[in-house]
């Protein structure tokens, strides 16, 4: 039974004894939350073998639908305009040096390496992550999680694992989609604003980009998916104090996911591009 470990009753701690204690308490709390979230993530991963079981398959497909196809509209707009902005900003600067023909390379490599997974992660964290946190938080404060626990149903397998599987699968797929739309948006700007033909743009774009750029980006997206699910589920499961606590969990999910996406993204880049 993992129920008592996941949910958390409100803690009413005495005021810090001194200034150092007031600084140390949030640090200790953060470390404890991180550890609990990681344990929760490991628990959900441990349940992944059940992803294709008859009991969980429907939930997984439902989450794939919610995470993937229902986010396509937002992701499409964000991806298209990210590529267009990149092409326009870089192209206008490069045109001063007569190098605007190289925007294909810059847009393609930027999208594949960083902007594709980053923008997808932000969109999914803001839309799907917050929704998961709100749903889990509502179930927690209404003691549905406790009820599942009492019925002997593991919340990590029943609630977290399908979402984890869905995001782990959909984030790389959505990132591929984002990359393609971003590169296409750059081509549109290149043709209409900078006078660069599609042939020249795509020739330049795919001349310098490599498979490493593509797959490192997809690996980042995969990690971002795990981060979003873990943060959202942890914040939801640990929500307290009714509707206010659900709102707080949702807000913290978005903030923490954004920060972790940025920080983890940097370290992954540093790991592969030294």
């Amino acid at each position: 039974m993992v129920g008592p470990m996941i949910t958390r009753e409100p803690e009413f701690l005495p005021p810090p004894a001194n200034a150092f204690a007031s600084m140390g308490r949030p640090v200790i709390q953060a470390c404890r939350d991180t550890g609990r979230a990681l344990v929760m993530l490991l628990g959900a991963i441990a349940n992944l073998p059940h992803v294709f079981s008859k009991r969980n398959r429907g939930d997984v497909v439902q989450q794939l639908w919610q995470v993937g196809l229902k986010s396509l509209g937002v992701v499409s707009v964000v991806a298209l305009f990210t590529g267009m902005i990149l092409a326009l900003q870089v192209g206008l600067e490069l045109r001063r040096y007569g190098q605007e023909n190289n925007i294909g390379m810059l847009v393609c490599i930027s999208m594949l390496r960083e902007m594709g997974p980053f923008m997808t992660g932000l969109v999914i964290a803001a839309s799907v992550g917050s929704a998961i946190a709100a749903q889990m938080g509502t179930m927690t404060v209404s003691e549905e999680i406790a009820a599942l626990d009492v019925m002997g149903i593991d919340p990590l397998r029943y609630l977290m694992m399908p979402r984890l599987a869905a995001l782990a699968i959909m984030m790389p797929l959505l990132t591929v989609y984002t990359n393609l739309l971003g590169i296409l948006g750059g081509a549109l700007v290149g043709l209409t604003q900078l006078g660069i033909s599609y042939e020249a743009y795509f020739d330049n774009a795919f001349r310098y980009a490599e498979n490493k750029d593509l797959y490192v980006g997809l690996f980042k997206a995969f990690l971002f998916g795990l981060i979003i699910v873990d943060v959202a589920c942890y914040q939801g499961f640990t929500a307290t104090e009714g509707a206010v606590g659900v709102g707080r969990a949702t807000r913290r999910t978005v903030i923490i996911s954004f920060l972790l996406i940025l920080i983890i993204g940097y370290f992954v880049t540093r790991l592969f591009y030294q």
Binding site: V61, Q62, W65, G68, L69, L173, Y177, F206, L218
Partner: protein
């Protein structure tokens, strides 16, 4: 199973399939068809690769024909492993070198197939020998060092001496020594030069106006030129005639000395006549030398003049008498 569930599963499957297909195509494009072509691995041994990196391209005649796959540091240099995706017919004098792709950085392997005169190799050797590399920055640094060495070897001293000379000249000019200084400080020289220039300008104006002989020579009126040409032509004709021995002067100048001999004989005769006159021989000599004969001759001439005067006075009467008696 509900229809909605079936629809959701189908749409999710379609989306996943489409994105996976796009991912496959993107992978193929980014691989630049590498896995569809048979790559030929080669090894090149360099003394120095000048910062070449794994993944840098291999070019031949400006075309990308492969990629650097790896590098290994060895006691005798650096062994670079590359894969050629296109066949490059190498000749015996082929050259492989590391070149800078731009002044901002970046390297690539340049595979020069060789000159047409060299023999074609049957196959690309598994290990090629790399040419010594030359770095642009390194070359520039050496050039600066050479320039610095040359400057230190005497150019700076020469330059200092030249500057000292220039300073000395400028001091002389400042103190009023020399023509140049006077030109700067003395107004008289300027006035003289200005007057000379004015005179030259006047001469020029007169020449331009066609005044004077030189002006006429320079003017568009070619009368003087024509006259000069005619005079030269006449002189030439005279010269030709002289050369041909024509005329008295020509005969005098000619190789025929007949006239000279005649002239010499005449002069000799005249000399004889002169000697005889001087000696008082003959009538003329006596007239010249004999005082009495001179006086008599003078008397005769005086009487002759008086007779002519008498005749002149009586000639009207004689004429009238002749006419009068002639009627009868």
């Amino acid at each position: 199973m509900k229809r909605k569930t079936i629809l959701i599963e189908t749409l999710v499957g379609l989306f996943s399939f489409a994105v996976l297909a796009a991912l496959f195509l993107l992978t193929v494009v980014l691989s630049r068809d590498a896995f569809l072509r048979k790559a030929h691995p080669v090894e090149i041994l360099f003394q120095d690769v000048m910062g070449l990196r794994v993944g840098d391209s291999v070019n031949s005649r400006g075309v990308v024909v492969g990629k650097v796959q790896g590098m290994e540091l060895r006691p005798d240099g650096v062994l670079v492993r590359a894969e050629l995706t296109q066949d490059v017919p190498l000749r015996a004098d082929y050259k492989v070198e590391v070149l800078a792709s731009s002044v901002l950085g970046g390297r690539y392997l340049n595979l020069d197939p060789g000159t047409p005169e060299a023999a074609v190799l049957d196959a690309i050797p598994d290990q090629l020998s790399g040419a010594p590399t030359s770095d642009l920055i390194d070359s520039a640094t050496r050039l600066v060092q050479d320039i610095r060495t040359a400057l230190n070897d005497g150019i700076i001293d020469d330059f200092k001496a030249t500057m000292a000379n220039i300073r000395s000249i400028s001091d002389d000019i400042a103190t009023g020594d020399g023509t140049l200084s006077k030109l700067i400080h003395d107004g008289q020289l300027h006035d003289d030069i200005a007057a000379t220039v004015a005179d030259l300008r006047g001469i020029g104006d007169r020449l331009a106006a066609g005044e004077g002989t030189l002006g006429k020579l320079l003017s568009s009126d070619d009368q003087l030129y024509s006259d000069l040409s005619a005079a030269i032509a006449d002189l030439r004709t005279i010269g030709d005639r002289l050369a041909a021995g024509e005329g008295t002067l020509g005969k005098l100048l000619s190789s025929d000395d007949q006239m000279y001999q005649d002239l010499a004989a005449t002069i000799s005769s005249l000399r004889g006549v002169g000697e005889r006159l001087e000696a008082g021989e003959g009538t003329l000599g006596k007239i010249i030398t004999d005082e009495e004969l001179y006086l008599e001759l003078r008397s005769i001439l005086r009487e002759g003049r008086a007779a002519i005067d008498d005749l002149r006075e009586t000639s009207p009467i004689t004429t009238f008498s002749s006419v009068f008696f002639g009627i009868f």
